[in-house]
Amino acid sequence: MRIAVAALLLSAALGTVSSPAADDGTFVVIVAASNRASSIKRQELARFFLRKTGRWNDGQGVIPVDQSAGSPVRAAFTRTVLSVEGMGQISAVQNFWLQQVYSGRSTPPPIKATDADVLAFVAANPGAIGYVGAAPAAGGVKVLTVTE
């Protein structure tokens, strides 16, 4: 507990606690409609996409799906979410995955080229989680609220 308090104080002193709103309007996080979750903490979301953890609360495996490196929505997602792990730039995330792959430690999430591809993938996989540029009109998926 002392360690936790000390780390939080250090974090606050260095001004690295981010603003509470994760969803800055440039992307929304989606899961399959059958997923029981309605919200997700930003740190938990980052760990899912970096495959640090991989289980929903009900024990189901998490299947993160990324967008291509040149995508503006991926840039926004990276800047807003993955920055909690010190990776606010896509190049830093790509380097993280190079390190994981070449050391045999982990595998990056599959990449989909468009919002439509992400929507289709998430709708088809109960444990999937992705992000798209705007709230989807189609069924089969739902939007998760990202909390601090």
Binding site: A4, L8, S11, R105, P108
Partner: protein, 432 residues
């Protein structure tokens, strides 16, 4: 060990380029990822031969090629492997090897199992020894990641556990533990150790009036009976910070038969001397910290270990000395800063200090044995510029300013070792 030809590296590169269906790495929904790279470098030192390469004259014998795949056929199951070929001086000779290959079952977030030839997690970056594309520098800080011991520290045949533990408001922990064994018959470490053992007998044999002495190591074998290691890494709730404490150890046996040819007077004689050496690292501690913010990465690592070595000789023309155990306490520290200005340019630099024995940093014990004090330490100031020309081609240029000769081989430098020396390295890598 699969084959032994120079074309191995070329074959890997060709196979890699043909296997890549798109400019990006191959990946489908089943999470099959195929990657590869091929590198060519050039090394030039102002003095001293590094890693048995002709760096003092300048050498292009500095190549690497790898083909890597990873797949996740089931949510909890992952398999991955890397074929690797390299050439660095007398090392590697572009022989194609299974660098590592693992099967992994992650039962829970908190506990997973890994088995196979597993990359050894010494410090933060040991697992990146063969991943030039994934690090800013050409040569990693040598105290923590000694290139002369690469064959011992790269990977181990065995298995272990790993996992992630949530700490609530205190962040989370990652951990890993490994145990295994390792065949060192084809290792540079074995060649270097047995060459040093053989060379050490030249003086006592010459003192016995053997003249025109020459030798060749006729047989050599080496094996790590066991190696173990692990770490705990804390990710506190401070974005981009991770702190790691690791511990590892190993027990290694070397054996060699050296054939000496000489004359006693005008009569030619030959001797066959067998040496058996035992080398152990009862424990090594590594403490690491890394902080990332924006394009900046700051790293500091500290290592201290204990080593025990002993050698037993037979077949000598003089009473073989009893095996005595030599104990040392090497220590190393470095600090590194790397900054990515743009997606294309990254600059980095580090200062590394290593001591052969932290109880003799100035080398007094070496001087007492008639050796240069500079063999007790090596201090390395290095700067690297990395340019990612495009998504598949990068170039690195690196300069080192060294003070000291610890970790250099006297046998590989028969003309002697210079205390103050420089190294220039340039390397280009194509990857997908």
């Amino acid at each position: 060990m699969i084959a032994k030809t120079w074309p191995a590296a070329v074959s890997l590169a060709v196979a890699a380029s043909m296997a890549s269906p798109s400019p990006a790495s191959a990946q489908d929904a089943s999470n099959f990822v195929l990657r590869g790279f091929v590198s060519q470098g050039y090394l030039k030192s102002s003095a001293n031969r590094l890693l048995d390469a002709d760096t003092d004259e300048g050498t292009f014998a500095f190549t690497e090629a790898a083909l890597n795949f990873t797949a996740q056929p089931l949510p909890k199951v992952r398999v991955a492997a890397q074929l690797f070929a390299r050439d660095l001086g007398t090392q590697g000779n572009n022989r194609l090897t299974l660098d590592w290959g693992v099967g992994e079952y992650r039962a829970w977030d908190q506990l997973g199992f890994r088995i196979g030839r597993v990359k050894f997690p010494v410090g933060l970056y040991n697992t990146l020894q063969d991943a030039d594309v994934a690090r800013p520098e050409i040569f990693q800080p040598s105290g923590l990641y000694p290139p002369e011991r690469r064959d011992l520290t790269n990977a181990i045949d065995g298995g272990g556990i790993f996992g992630t533990l949530q700490l609530g408001g205190a962040g989370y922990l990652e951990y890993e533990g490994l145990y295994g064994t390792l065949d060192l018959d084809d290792s540079y470490l074995l060649v270097r150790a047995t060459n040093q053992l053989s060379a050490a007998l030249v003086a006592p044999l010459t003192a016995l009036r053997f003249s025109n002495l020459s030798y060749v190591v006729a047989e050599r074998e080496g094996r790590a009976k066991y190696g173990w290691g692990g770490y705990v890494e804390w990710h506190p709730p401070l974005s981009g910070l991770r702190l790691r404490g690791g511990m590892q150890g190993a027990s290694v046996d070397f054996a060699a038969v050296t054939a000496y040819s000489a004359f006693v007077g005008t009569a030619p004689v030959s001797l066959s001397i067998r040496s058996a050496a035992h080398y152990a690292v009862p424990h090594q501690f590594v403490f690491s910290g890394e902080y990332n913010r924006g394009g900046l990465r700051l790293t500091a690592e500290h290592s201290r270990l204990k080593t025990k070595g002993s050698t037993l000789l037979s077949g000598t023309p003089f009473p073989a000395p009893p095996a005595t155990v030599t104990i040392a306490h090497p220590m190393s520290t470095y600090g590194q800063a790397a900054y990515r200005f743009t997606d294309r340019f990254q600059a980095s630099g580090y200062y590394s200090v290593s001591y052969a024995d932290r109880n003799d940093k100035g080398g007094k014990n070496l001087v007492a044995r008639g050796q240069a004090a500079s063999g007790a330490f090596i201090k390395d100031l290095a700067f690297t510029l990395r340019v990612d020309v495009n998504a598949h081609w990068l170039v690195k240029a690196e300069v080192h300013r060294f003070d000291g000769t610890y970790s250099l081989s006297a046998v590989e430098n028969p003309k002697g070792l210079d205390k103050d020396w420089n190294l220039f390295a340039i390397k280009t890598t194509f990857h997908f």
